[in-house]
Amino acid sequence: MLADFDPSRRQFLKTSMVAGVGVYVANLGSPAFAALFEEGILAPTDAAWDAEAARMRFRLDGVSKVTGAKVFARDIRARDMPHWPDRQSHAFILRTTRCDRTYEGFDLARLEAEDLLPDRVVTAQDLERDGIVVPEFYGPDLLLATGQTPSYLGYPVAILIYHDFARYSIAKNRLKFKQDVIRYGQETGYPQRDPYGTFRYIRVGNDDAYQPDVYSALQETVLTPDYRKRHPIWPEALRSGSDAETAMYHAGRIEEQLASPPEGWVVFEREYYSQYTDHFAMEADNSNCWYDRSSGAMHVVCGTQSPAELASWMPELLAKSRFASKRFFLHPAYTVGYGSKDASVFPYYGLVAALYADGHPVRLANDRYEQFQATMKRHPFSMRHRIAVERDSGKFQIFKLVLDANGGGRANYSNSVAFVGATAAQGIYYFPSSDLTAQANYSRMPEAGSYRGYGTLQTMSATEMMIDELAAELGIDPIELRLRNLLKAGMKNTQGAIPAGASRAGEVLHRARRHPLWTEREQRKQAYEAAHPGKRYGVGFGCVQKDFGHGAEGVFSEVELTPEGRIRLRNIGAEMGTGYATGQAAVCAAWLGRAADEIGTAETEWSDMQMESSGNPYIMAQDEQDRLARNPRWTPLLMQASSASNSAYYFSFPTIEAARIIFRHGLWPAALEYWSRGIGGGQAAPYVVREQEARWVDGKLTASGMEPLSLEFLARRAHEMGGVTAAMAHAFNRWAWATAEYEIDGQRENLPLDGLALKYGAGADSQKRRSMTSPRGYHLLDRANVHYPPTQRNNAGVTYYSACGTLVALAVDTGSGEVEVLDHHTILECGNPIVPELVSGQLQGGVAMGIGHALFEDMPLYEDGPGNGTWNINRYRIPRAKDVAVWRQTSEILPPLSDSDPHKGMAEVVMIPVIPAIANGVAHAIGHRFTRLPITPDKILEVL
């Protein structure tokens, strides 16, 4: 297929120099990748875009995906890469399965007998000798040295490389599940470590919820204590002390009130446990890497949610090693992760394997046992919830939470998962006072990391289970109790921050309260149980609001309009199956009248902008930010990974801004010029034609009754007139957008961007043409009066929310203990959906994943768990179609308040409320409230 590949067609884009290594990126969907594979992954937008209805008929990657084209990194072999040698090597990793003894080497005698010894073995000795050091974020070492005790189950000790598939495949099978391969030495006991981190958010509100707080994390501080004997040491409590000491004073007052509540208050307390689960992303982790010894170039093919990280840290690793790598090529492929491919250590093993593969491309691809053993999981949470409520009014007074997040053997994102979980725990409710402590702990469990829901699934599910029980105790309808305690617009969250925009959780509650599943639940229960002896019917409800975004978002986007009216778009996001590429294309239509024709995803090449970053955006001090921001090319964060439901809102944001600038300074002037042609000011003269009245109808621009004009015509005229025809933008968000002033066509504009470059059409004057000096021919604008959100806003925890509620009807089989989900209805608020079909698909998939969490998915943490290498889906149940009420389930999306609502992130929130809804439904069915998930038949039979 590729024998006649023309190397001149390679259009690798050199992104930057990292530690002296040139970095080049060719993305799926990019011209460079199309050249590699002789076919595009994305369908022509002309076929997918319905101009009349202004909607996407299908996802742009759909044809490739439904015909089995090579879309995933896992599909790629050396022979598919035109510039690579054809011969493909293969590798697998040996891992330890004990943490109570030293590791003393491995025994491959079993392979030797069959002439199946690897062609190359890589151990810690090699890495030590060659100066290969794991990026600090991922520590400890990539491979364990002999004489050390593994710090977690599944710790890698060696990479075995084969230069042919057959021997690799058979050898791997021969070693699978064998306990005599790894040699262990003296008993050492299990490793012990300090917690990864502890975070405490204390807030005491004013009597008037809308007035400034007495104390809050946003106003004052978050507590992050040191440790003594692995326990946090809290500051002394002083009423007029430092911020931290004052916090402890308020914490003491809160505790006193919980211990001795005032007359009329009731204090509820429950302990909850959320289990250890696997992402089960169907594409298991894999990479295919080639180290070209002759040129010192490293080539990496892998699926990743964080391509910018790989393009930065991998060259750094190479540069520090003895390998004289001077060029680094990254091919990020379309993938799927749910978080498992966000900041994953796995690609680094593939990179290292290539360095020792004798110059052959080497493929490292987990089978499912390895995936269970080695890949990041969801953090198990142990939580102690306490809520004080005024009995007569049902109004909540205090919320106190202590949670322990088990992070396993590598820290990864455990700290942020823990504090994000804590800061979301309040759910949709307002609490006048709160004290939330989150601790991320080390353990020998295979590591936990980013996973859809990111700590909030655990805490909000527990809160919603508690609210339901609390309502029953108080004798108040559960939805009524929720409405009485709703966090309304302008109120503050538990960090003291005011959430963005209107709060619409109340609408979700009102709709749920009117739904037949809820209003008829008692009649249906009676009817169902009469018709189904041995089964108990129950209806449960849960409602949450989930943040979207990381708290620091850096995004580049480029939109270019050709003279023919074609739209080219590049953005940093990775396509993980969510339809991100399709959505990015579609958001252009608001300003340019149609979806983009060419879309580049996972782009890391933005050197035109000359932007640089330093410092940690999450923890930097205000004076540090102020000092750094004097550099007009500085930003707190260049590029964020694709996770935390951040593509719809954050990644679209600079795309929309870029398209708006092209409209305002390219297309609109062209339209006005045409409408004003002729004597007396032409067709525009009799009317008042304002930019605000501009509308795209059937793919043509009109305003105030003006003659509709096609994009092709306007694009040609914009180019001829020298208007703005392309914009490259960078935006930064820290729970608010950075802003700056730019001069465009003599007009000073304040824009929510901290970097901007423009291209002008061929008719531009000589001064403009001379200004377009960047590699891609952009005029890099100088920003003025830049304003970054204050660093104190880091303490806000979150300000952007989407609300979601789910009603579930279920039946419990009293004989088998099985729970059958009979029906469910979900109500979601997500602003303006970009592609409604993609939103509803995310919703349906999220609910299914939530059902799995509530009822099926679970693993032991330690020696009997996935770290032992024997886990697969024969004993880890993934929901099937019949488990999710596939024909009966329904959903609704709240209409946006207006067509100017933002495109809110929603891919995580949709999987959460179904979990407490099921727990609450089981309680309705059998009268028992489970506090440990999942609710399995064994647990049900035990209480029945």
Partner: protein, 182 residues
């Protein structure tokens, strides 16, 4: 000791493959990936549980059935005719897609898949179902259960199945002769 091999010859998507010496232990999925460069059939679990590795085996009597290639040896398929996801659409001489099969078109228009890793298995399972209904039409009131039974073993982690199954139902209802009145 050298690896034991045997010659393998079969028909994939109407094209003859082999005879070629192939290890006796080789799984069919590995043959498709490493020898035939057909990677659309996906590795999911290696236990035959998730069905991402499903292909269609065509029988001489005109019937078809699903086979899981991650747990079935390549040599089982010696002399047999199979279809993989790459073989459903009409293509030109250069391999460019001219027209999707109806079930593929329906999956596309229903936004049925997200990451699409499982899509090849669903395409094949739905195709086998449709071909069975061509021989044995189903009563309309049995249709949803028939679809659920046919596709329930196929795991999708992204979509919640709703758009897959709805697309299959729409395709069956719009194809004459697959449904009979009760």
């Amino acid at each position: 000791m050298s690896i034991a091999t045997r010659p393998l010859a079969l028909t994939i998507n109407g094209q003859q493959h082999g005879p070629i010496e192939v290890p006796v232990e080789l799984m069919m999925l590995d043959y498709l990936h490493e020898y035939a460069n057909l990677t659309g059939t996906r590795f999911g679990c290696g236990q035959g549980m998730c069905r991402a590795c499903t292909v269609i085996v065509d029988q001489d009597d005109g019937s078809s059935h699903e086979m899981r290639t991650c747990i079935t040896g390549a040599h089982y398929f010696n002399g047999r005719r199979i279809r993989t996801v790459e073989g459903h659409a009409q293509r030109d001489e250069d391999g460019e897609v001219l027209a999707l099969a109806p079930i593929q078109q329906s999956f596309l228009e229903h936004y049925s898949f997200q990451c699409s890793y499982c899509a090849p298995g669903f395409v094949n399972a739905a195709t086998v179902l449709i071909e069975r209904l061509q021989r044995e039409p189903v009563a309309r009131d049995q249709l949803e259960d028939t679809i659920s039974d046919a596709l329930n073993d196929h795991i999708c982690r992204c979509t919640g199945y709703v758009r897959y199954l709805a697309a299959v139902r729409d395709t069956i209802l719009s194809t004459p002769g697959l449904v009979k009145e009760a």
